[in-house]
């Protein structure tokens, strides 16, 4: 058997193409199956783990009255309840980036966000930042990039729609310290609320201490044993369902107990209030009395003070009178004395004046005396110097004579010198200049002349000195002669001058004596006058001080009077405020009494609360994820079948071909004595090895590649961790056995059918499949007109039916996959274009704060440049029910005027585009809502009015719609049926905004107007959905890849078989002189026709698959487009053809390699 095994090994290595074809198709089929099948389990496992990690509650209890500690106690006593976490939440509105958003605020677990005990449920995961540590800190949802981000470190202020949140929160301003994800919110939308526009935008967590509610808002429950199974399993539902039922059992009694509790609490509160009221009343009365007493005491004090003041005033008046009489006496006396004193003073002053005059005279006389004395002395001196004067005169005369004598000779000398100089000059002039010694003689003469001139100037200066000396002696002589004459005059007068001087001396001494006695007398008189004046001023001083004292007393009294007045005013103010306070206090007491009475009345009316027991299926994120996972399951159950089918066909044709090729070998084995069993085993082994290797490659690849791609696409709309991949044994086994089964089955079929022949005939080459007439030939008109080559192609195509089917199915599968992919994209992209561009004629929505459109806003809305139209409406989340109780969540839309609405919303039928009328009494429901509720025109929908009473409307029309569910109702009808006035809360606007800048400007202007809180442009909403659609691109890529692989394998296989099987034929036509091009065309024409046929079938298949997938994948609030765009058909077909061209190009090499010499060989 060793040789046999070697032969098997060689047959593999010698036919790699064939072997890999089987291997690849098995890998693709098994991989695609296993990968797609395990996607949903992987998704569920990932989310299950995520929920377990966050310790998501199994059950959640809500009550209209909250929960008390005794509720908590009762619930935790229920069998199967592992832990209870009582906690708080509240909804608030905050402003982020100038937009109002609604936010749900939860309390973190009491033991901290990171506590892993069972009691700490619904723990969020910190994504960035840190956990809150202090009051006033919060962590918010990270938010998908579509939402407005709240920056870490920013501060947000929470408001309820009515104002503050002081009833529920200790503080309303929170600092964002981190971002979190929560398994409680896996889906993109957070949920609904009763505030804002009804849609929650975000969630946040704060410290539980920051809540001040007395009753717990909700209870989270963990069920024993629930965590040991997958949350998506039936077992989980059983375990949790049992506990839920038990909770249902205690619910009634707890509701009543809670009512009693609340009542008791309220009664307690009321009685406390009553007591407080009574106390307050007593207290108030006492306080009032006290105040009154104080007022009376004050009045008495004031009266006493007034009396004291009056006494003082009287005393002052007496003093004043006394002072005045004293003043009068003083004035009288002063009038008498002062003239006397003045006269005396006058006398003194005159005396003093006379004395002064006399002193002056005396001084003049003394001065004259002194002058006389001086004259006398100088006269005496002159007289004594007479002899000396005579001598001086003589000497001066002598000097004059001496000098005159010297004058003459000097004059002669000068004249001599002068003439000598003249002579010398003449000599010089007469000298002959031509004489030979001229120069010498001239110099000699010049020298002599210079000496003469020097002597001349010396003589002249000597003469000058003598003349000067004569002049000086003459003036001295004259002076001396004057003096001598004066002395001779004075000499006789000297004695009389001496006598006169002595008598003048005597007179001066007498005058000095008389002045001294006069001064003495005047001083005595002055003393007398001064003492009289002193007496008077002393009397005056006394009087003045008395006056000052009186003035001071008067000021003090005035102050006292003023204080008294003030006290009186204060007293009267006190009286007034006492009256006011008394009135106020009485009013307050009255109100308090009223409140008390009201409270008592309310308490009597109080009804039992309602409990809501919610399991995870009621959690929005959980529910939508669960249905998405289910959808994934149903899709994955369909697509792979196609691959298995193709795999079986590929294996069948390939193995048939192999068996045919090896029939002589088989015959030989037979003849050598190998059993049929052994021979079959060879081919089964061949196919089996290809299959096993294919599975070994394909399944792990599929299982580890496809789920993450799909999950990551989903993660654009779910917040959850990356996929937790697990090797799924179940689907591995199914994939493995299914692919192996198909390939082995096909092989067995091929081999066994061959082995029916006898060994002898097997040894003969198998007659080539005989040519046959095909059906088309019977239609002569067509057949005759066909070109020869087309006839050949047509006949060849139908000659090998197995290949025909394989190719058509394979290509159809590929095209179908492509079309499904593109179709899905079309259907979903359609939503946006149809909804926002076709069905809605408005492009913006503005939220109204109080239902009124301010004048400012109207300025924008009624400017035709800016706005083409606007309409007021009410839009809010409601439950729409049908009569059999089925309920869906949708929007109620009530326009202000019914006739206006069709200008903003295009009501029409989806298929025929026929208009659906809307006017008075119209009730129009959107298509998907209608189909979900099973309502047609004329059917009834039920909604609750504001009092919670159910009212019904008859549907008058059903309109095309893709996003969300809407119930459009005429306002008049709405009001008359519900009894509620429509609460208009938004504007639909047709704004003229060509670009995003204009859009921004428009919304800014509108937001700045009063009464408008949010402006949303549909274009922005579109972007959110476009993001979702991007996720589909991945899925389409997978589909294109798989389709390409499928097409490639099928076409490759087909062409490969075609070429090897018909090698001889091809060689022959080559010998006949067919060009390479024609040889290729000979084969490819068949391939192309098959591809085109397959393509056509694929497009049909695609339509079916698309319809199935779309209805399966669709989420509740959305209706996907049902149409596939024409270009998608085109793309799918073109891509398929492209794959076929690629295969053709690939196979061309093989065609070229065909050796013509083959044609000469015998058939073997």
């Amino acid at each position: 058997m060793k040789a046999f095994r070697t032969e098997i090994r060689r047959s593999i290595s010698r036919s790699k193409g064939r072997f890999f074809a089987i291997l690849l198709i098995v890998a693709l089929g098994a991989g695609f199956y296993a990968g797609l099948r395990s996607t949903a389990p992987d998704m569920r496992r990932t989310v299950d783990q995520y929920m377990k990690d966050g310790n998501l509650m199994d059950l959640q209890l809500l009550s209209t009255m909250g929960f008390s500690d005794s509720d908590v106690e009762a619930v935790s006593q229920v069998e199967g309840v592992e832990a209870v976490m009582p906690t708080y939440y509240t909804d608030a509105i905050t402003t982020v980036n100038e937009k109002d958003i609604t936010i749900r605020i939860h309390a973190l677990p009491l033991l901290g966000a990171e506590d892993t005990s069972t009691e700490s449920m619904n723990r969020p995961t910190l994504v960035q930042g840190r956990w809150p540590q202090n009051s006033g800190e919060c962590v918010v949802e990270k938010g998908k990039d579509l939402k407005n981000s709240i920056e870490i470190g920013s501060t947000i202020t929470m408001q309820s729609c009515t104002g503050g949140l002081s009833d529920t929160l200790k503080t309303d301003t929170f600092t964002v310290v981190g971002y979190v994800d929560s398994s409680y919110y896996v889906s993109f939308s957070v949920g609904t609320t009763t505030i804002g526009n009804g849609q929650l935008d975000r969630y946040a967590f704060i410290l539980p201490q920051d809540f001040k509610s007395s009753a717990y808002s909700t209870l989270y429950l963990k069920v024993k044993g629930a965590d040991s199974v997958s949350t998506f399993s039936d077992r989980y539902d059983e375990i949790v369902g049992a506990v839920s039922d038990r909770l249902e059992d205690i619910r009634e009694s707890r509701q009543d107990d809670r009512l009693q509790e609340v009542k008791a609490d309220a009664e307690q509160t009321l009685s406390n209030a009553q007591k407080t009221y009574d106390d307050a009343k007593v207290d108030t009365d006492a306080q009032l009395n006290e105040a009154q007493q104080k007022l009376l005491d004050g009045a008495a004090q004031i009266a006493e003070n007034e009396r004291t003041l009056e006494d003082a005033e009287k005393k002052l008046a007496d003093g004043k009178q006394e002072y005045e009489s004293g003043l009068a006496a003083y004035q009288e006396k002063a009038a008498e004395i002062i003239p006397q004193l003045n006269a005396a003073q006058e006398q003194i002053d005159t005396g003093k004046e006379t004395l002064t005059e006399k002193k002056q005279q005396l001084e003049d006389a003394e001065k004259k005396l002194e002058e006389g004395k001086d004259q006398l002395a100088s006269a005496e001196q002159l007289v004594q110097s007479i002899p000396q004067l005579g001598a001086g005169i003589k000497q001066a005369q002598q000097t004059i004579n001496d000098l005159t004598a010297k004058q003459g000779p000097l004059k002669i000398q000068v004249a001599g010198l002068k003439s000598q100089a003249e002579m010398l000059k003449g000599q010089i002039d007469t000298l002959d200049p031509g004489a030979p010694d001229y120069e010498n003689r001239k110099a000699k003469l010049q020298n002599q002349l210079d000496q003469v001139n020097a002597g001349l100037s010396q003589a002249e200066s000597g003469l000058q000195q003598v003349n000067d000396g004569i002049t000086a002696a003459n003036s001295e002589l004259q002076n001396l002669e004057g003096l001598l004459q004066q002395a001779n005059v004075l000499s006789p007068q000297l004695d009389s001058m001496r006598e006169q001087l002595t008598s003048a001396q005597q007179q001066i001494s007498e005058g000095q004596e008389a002045i001294a006695s006069g001064e003495e007398e005047i001083a005595a008189n002055q003393k007398k006058v001064d003492s009289g004046r002193e007496q008077l001023s002393a009397a005056k001083e006394k009087l003045d001080s008395a006056q000052k004292e009186i003035a001071a007393n008067e000021t003090r009294l005035a102050q006292g009077r003023q204080q008294l007045e003030e006290a009186k005013n204060t007293l009267s103010d006190g009286q007034k405020s006492y009256n006011d306070a008394k009135k106020e206090a009485e009013e307050k007491l009255l109100n308090a009494k009223q409140e008390l009475d009201d409270g008592k009345a309310k308490l009597d009316e109080l009804k039992a609360p309602t409990w809501y027991i919610l399991d995870r299926h009621k959690n929005l994120g959980f529910a939508s994820f669960e249905s998405d996972a289910d959808r994934m399951d149903s899709i994955s159950a369909v697509f792979p079948v196609l691959f298995f089918l193709v795999a079986a066909l590929v294996a069948l044709t390939t193995m048939t071909r192999m068996v045919e090729e090896e029939r002589v070998l088989i015959g030989t084995y037979f003849s050598l004595g190998y059993s049929k069993h052994t021979i079959v085993k060879k081919y089964l082994l061949y196919a089996g090895i290809a299959g096993v290797v294919g599975c070994a490659v394909g399944i792990p690849l599929g299982m580890y590649v496809l789920p993450p791609i799909c999950w990551n696409s989903y993660r654009l709309i779910y917040v959850a961790p990356p996929a937790i991949l697990e090797f799924n044994l179940k689907y591995t086994a199914i994939g493995f056995f299914a692919s192996l089964g198909t390939s082995l089955g096909a092989t067995a079929f091929a081999v066994v059918s061959s082995l029916k022949e006898s060994p002898a005939s097997l040894m003969q080459p198998k007659a080539p499949a005989p040519g046959k007439r095909i059906f088309l030939e019977r239609i002569h008109p067509i057949w005759r007109r066909m070109k020869f080559t087309s006839k050949v192609t047509a006949r060849n195509m139908f000659r090998y039916k197995r290949r025909l089917i394989m190719t058509i199915v394979g290509i159809a599968g590929a095209t179908g996959l492509l079309l499904t992919g593109y179709g899905i994209k079309d259907s979903i992209s359609d939503i946006i274009t149809n909804q926002y561009n076709v069905l809605y004629s408005y492009n913006a929505v503005a939220h109204l704060k109080d239902g009124n459109v301010s004048q400012e806003a109207k300025k924008v809305l009624e400017d035709p440049q800016k706005t083409s139209g606007w309409m007021k409406d009410e839009r809010r989340n409601i439950d729409i029910d049908n009569e059999s109780g089925k309920s869906i969540s949708g929007y109620l839309f009530v326009p202000e005027t019914a006739d206006e609405l069709p200008n903003f919303v295009n009501f029409r039928l989806r298929k025929s585009h026929e208009q659906v009328p809307f006017g008075s009494n119209s009730v129009v429901l959107t298509e998907k809502a209608a189909s979900q509720l099973g309502i047609s025109v004329g059917g009834k929908v039920l909604i609750k009015n504001n009092e919670g009473k159910e009212v019904s409307f008859t549907v008058t029309g059903i309109t095309e719609n893709y996003l969300y569910h809407f119930l459009y109702i005429d306002p008049v009808l709405y009001e008359s049926v519900t009894g509620d006035q429509p609460q208009y809360n938004e504007l639909c606007i047709k704004a003229n905004v060509p670009d995003s800048a204009a859009q921004k400007a428009y919304s800014d202007e509108l937001l700045n107007s009063d009464g408008i809180s949010i402006v949303t442009f549909l274009r922005d909403t579109t972007q959110v959905f476009e993001k979702m659609i991007e996720s589909l691109d991945n899925i389409i890529l997978i589909l294109i890849f798989c389709a390409g692989m499928l097409a490639f394998i099928v076409l490759y296989n087909l062409t490969n078989i075609n070429i090897t099987e018909r090698q001889r034929e091809l060689a022959t036509i080559k010998v006949l002189g067919f060009y390479d091009r024609e040889v290729s065309a000979y084969i490819y024409r068949e391939t192309s026709w098959l591809t085109i046929l397959g393509c056509g079938a694929g497009l049909l298949l695609g339509i079916l698959m698309h319809a199935y997938v779309i209805t399966t994948v669709e989420i509740d609030a959305v209706m996907f487009g049902r149409e596939i765009a024409p270009q998608s058909f085109l793309y799918s077909a073109l891509l398929t053809l492209l794959f076929s061209v690629i295969v053709d190009l690939f196979m061309n090499r093989k065609l070229k390699r065909i050796n013509m010499v083959e044609s000469l060989k015998s058939v073997d």
Binding site: A767, P768, A769, P770, G771, K772, F788, T789, K791, V792, R795, N796, R799, R1064, E1065, A1067, T1068, I1069, K1070, V1071, L1072, G1073, F1074, Y1075, D1076, E1078, M1156, V1157, S1159, L1160, K1161, S1162, V1163
Partner: protein, 233 residues
Amino acid sequence: MAFVEFHDVTKFYQMGEVSIHAADGVNFSIEQGEFVIIVGPSGAGKTTVLNMLGGMDSCTSGEILLDGKKISSYNQKQLTQYRRYDVGFVFQFYNLVQNLTALENVELASQICKDPLDAMEVLREVGLEERADNFPAQLSGGEQQRVAIARALAKNPKLLLCDEPTGALDYRTGKAVLQLLQDTCRNTGRTVIVITHNQAFTALADRVIHIHSGKVQKMELNQNPMSAERIEW
């Protein structure tokens, strides 16, 4: 100048390290309108010569001339054209396309020629008028070979090359086919070259070329060729 000329034609095949000399300096010439038999034992190189003459293979060196054209220097495209317009082939195993009727098989060749003969006419000439609409599987070996000859003739080729045309046929049928070829040569003046290992056929030929070990051993002209009906083997 002769119609077909081989001058020192060699053909080497490199099989790994061994070089096989399939043709090792072949020289011969053939005149137009001759019925030529190339004869030699298996592996002598007859088929190589035929392949080269038929434009299915190229020579390693030397030159091949047909009607003055140097085929040995043709490129692939020219060789294809040469096969298409100038040569008709008859194979040992007929090589009919199974999926085409007898007539269509003839048409397969005639459709690509410039100046083809009428397919039906040629079929009539080979005596298969009534079997025109039959598929090869419905024909006997001799009939199939006659269809093959008709297919070759329909192209109106300058040269008809036959590789062991009787190899798969019984004695009688083989004789009939040989007769058909001989008649074709005589009646249409077409040059027919038949390759065989059967020495007995040499009597039919105008010219006999003996090939041995890749060389022309000898070439002889037959002044009085016999009719195919009269030869025995």
